[in-house]
């Protein structure tokens, strides 16, 4: 059974003035369990809309989304979310943020406390349990967000530009962390990003999406994520294969942008 099966999903938003925008049109794909799918595309291509539909925050206008054969109708703890930033609870300590999910699901402290410790180590925040989240840097906050999501042991992790607000160095480190977590937990991950490099490096599958109407333009299966687990990230990103793909995708997106400018004006 496919971990995720999206068929003929369409999404039409009504905007004030009687017009409507086709954020997604006829999107279909299957995703096997344990894949890391990255969604890439210019603004307005519907990548975040697609992620929100899978998360259950939005109901598509047409089509169905099945997870393990069951229709997704609302958010659930089988699908963890990691947002760009500011989705942590400032009034809770790092440890309390991470244990939020288990506590909401009425788990006993003895059940989740060891796991929280373990997760802190995994994301490299050992010893930070009692810190307040606003005392942490942006990169550390995203580590907490990742750990909070993992604490619920979801089948799938959905990330909406999780590294978008980080500086370049922190970003590279976090990419490595995401790859490691992906490998170690074997979870299915869908990650939305604006960065071509990030999409190529992290995605073992990559959708380049196009706007107006939002749709999947190209569906790549990539080797870099697998290689990135062992090889050096910088060398990998400098390899000819990586550069070639990056160029190809950049051109594709560049053309889309040109088209938008052309028809829009």
């Amino acid at each position: 059974m496919k971990a995720l099966s999206v068929s003929n999903v369409g999404m039409i938003y009504d905007i004030p003035g009687g017009e409507s925008v086709e954020a997604l049109k006829d999107v279909s794909f299957d995703l096997e369990a344990g894949r890391l799918l990255t969604l890439l595309g210019p603004s307005g291509c519907g990548k975040t809309t697609l992620l929100n539909i899978v998360a259950g925050f939005l109901a598509p206008t047409t089509g169905t989304v099945l997870m393990e054969g069951e229709q997704i109708t609302k958010p659930g703890r089988d699908r963890g979310m990691v947002f760009q930033q500011g989705a942590l609870f400032e009034w809770l300590s790092v440890a309390d943020n991470i244990s939020f999910g288990p506590r909401m699901n009425k788990k006993r402290k003895a059940e989740y406390a060891p796991r929280v410790e373990e997760l802190l180590e995994i994301v490299g925040l050992g010893g930070f349990a009692d810190k307040q989240v606003y005392e942490l840097s942006g990169g550390m906050q995203q580590r907490v967000a990742l750990a909070r999501c993992l604490a619920n042991d979801p089948d799938m992790i959905l990330m909406d530009e999780p590294l978008g607000a980080l500086d370049a160095l922190t970003r590279e480190k976090m990419q490595g962390l995401i790859l490691n977590i992906w490998k170690e937990t074997g979870k299915t991950i869908i990650l939305v990003t604006h960065s071509v490099e990030e999409a190529l490096y992290l995605g073992d599958r990559l959708f380049v999406m196009a706007p107006r109407p939002g749709r999947i333009q190209r569906d790549y299966t990539l080797p870099f994520a697998e290689q990135g687990l062992t090889a050096d990230a910088r060398e990998l990103k400098l390899s000819p294969e990586f550069a070639e793909k990056k160029e190809e995708i950049l051109n594709m997106i560049w053309e889309m942008e040109e088209q938008i400018m052309g028809t829009g004006a």
Partner: protein, 353 residues
């Protein structure tokens, strides 16, 4: 180097190691702070000005001796009379002389002197004791109010009555206002339902309702507390409504995808997230309540600081009025300081999300 920053001079200088190294600070808001020594200076200045304005001047030297002597006799007499009253077990009848003793005795001396030796130009002040008591008189009145009281209550008693009314008013105002505000922030239907009454009642100055409240609830606690509920509830509704709406969609969504139920999202996300706004609401409402209460007590109560001031005015006891005014100001400042302290302890994340 570091030693030069200490000492008395340091308290008057713009502090902070960062500011010391800045070459341009005019227009740099972060370099401007309130230097405490200047605040103290302003306070001393105010008291000094008050002292000067109530000080007699143009007083002939030879009169002074006479007056001092007369005053001593009069003061001794007063002490004896007061002691008699205390002994007779009726301390509430004790009078605090509202005239400046110096002036009173000068007038006494005038009465005995030939007309041409005593004219109003000999004795003058910017503020005569019949219009504004001097700092010394006020201090005396403060101490008497503190120990012997006025209107069957000590000063602390009056202040306590007023404070307790404010606390009760705020308690109910918050208890009623916060759920309504949250409802308005979270549901379109309830927003529509409550919008009209809130917008209609909010602009009404609570004191405009005082006559009605006195008719309905009589003079005393009932009227005062209900008026304060009316004063605070709209502020708390607006604060809670704003607080509920400041929650980031991503926080709510994160909570739902972590398995939280609606009521858990309300209690564990929306409520704590709204605390900074609620706190601001409480601070504003407390300030408004305090002002409203004192005004309401002038006519709507027979105890409390406002009532004390009103009765004192009727008896031309301006020293008591001034003490009351100062106590009201000081309590207002203290309440705000306490709230600011509580805020830094209870919601340290404020402004850091």
């Amino acid at each position: 180097m570091a030693g030069s920053k200490g000492g008395l001079v340091g308290l008057f200088k713009r502090g902070g190691s960062q500011n010391d190294r800045k070459t341009v600070t005019f227009g740099d808001a972060s370099a401007v702070r309130s230097l405490p020594m200047y605040s103290l200076l302003a306070l001393l200045g105010l008291v000094f000005f008050w002292y000067l304005a109530t000080q007699p001047f143009g007083f002939p030297d030879d009169f002074k001796a006479t007056v001092d002597e007369t005053f001593q006799v009069a003061a001794d007499d007063a002490e004896v009379r007061n002691q008699e009253r205390i002994d007779s077990g009726n301390p509430n009848l004790i009078e605090i002389p509202f005239l400046d003793p110096t002036q009173r005795d000068y007038l006494a001396a005038c009465a005995q002197a030939p007309d041409d030796q005593c004219s109003s130009s000999d004795y003058s002040q910017f503020l005569s004791p019949s219009k504004f008591p001097s700092p010394g008189d006020t201090w005396v009145a403060f101490n008497r109010l503190r120990t012997r009281g006025f209107q069957n209550e000590t000063l602390a008693g009056h202040a306590g009555i007023s404070l307790w009314r404010v606390i009760r008013g705020m308690f109910w105002g918050t208890l009623i206002g916060v759920p309504i505000g949250f409802a308005m922030g979270l549901s379109s239907r309830l927003r529509g339902l409550f919008d009209t009454p809130v917008e209609l009642f909010r602009p009404i100055p609570p004191l405009a309702l005082l006559p009605l409240f006195i008719v309905w609830f009589g003079i005393g606690d009932g009227t005062a507390v209900r008026l304060l509920i009316f004063a605070s509830v709209w502020i708390m509704i607006i604060a809670a409504r704003a607080g509920a709406r400041t929650v980031k969609l991503s926080k709510v969504r994160a909570a739902y995808s972590l398995g939280a139920s609606k009521s858990q999202v309300l209690r564990r996300v929306i409520l704590p997230n709204a605390l900074p706004e609620l706190f601001t609401g409480v601070r504003v409402a407390l300030g408004v309540s305090w002002g409203t209460l004192v005004a309401a007590e002038l006519v709507g109560a027979s105890s409390g600081l406002g009532s004390m001031i009103f009765t004192a005015r009727n008896n031309l006891r301006l020293d008591v009025v001034v003490v009351g005014v100062i106590v009201i100001a000081v309590i207002g400042v203290l309440m705000d300081l306490i709230m600011r302290f509580a805020e830094s302890k209870l919601i340290p994340w404020r402004g850091k999300g």
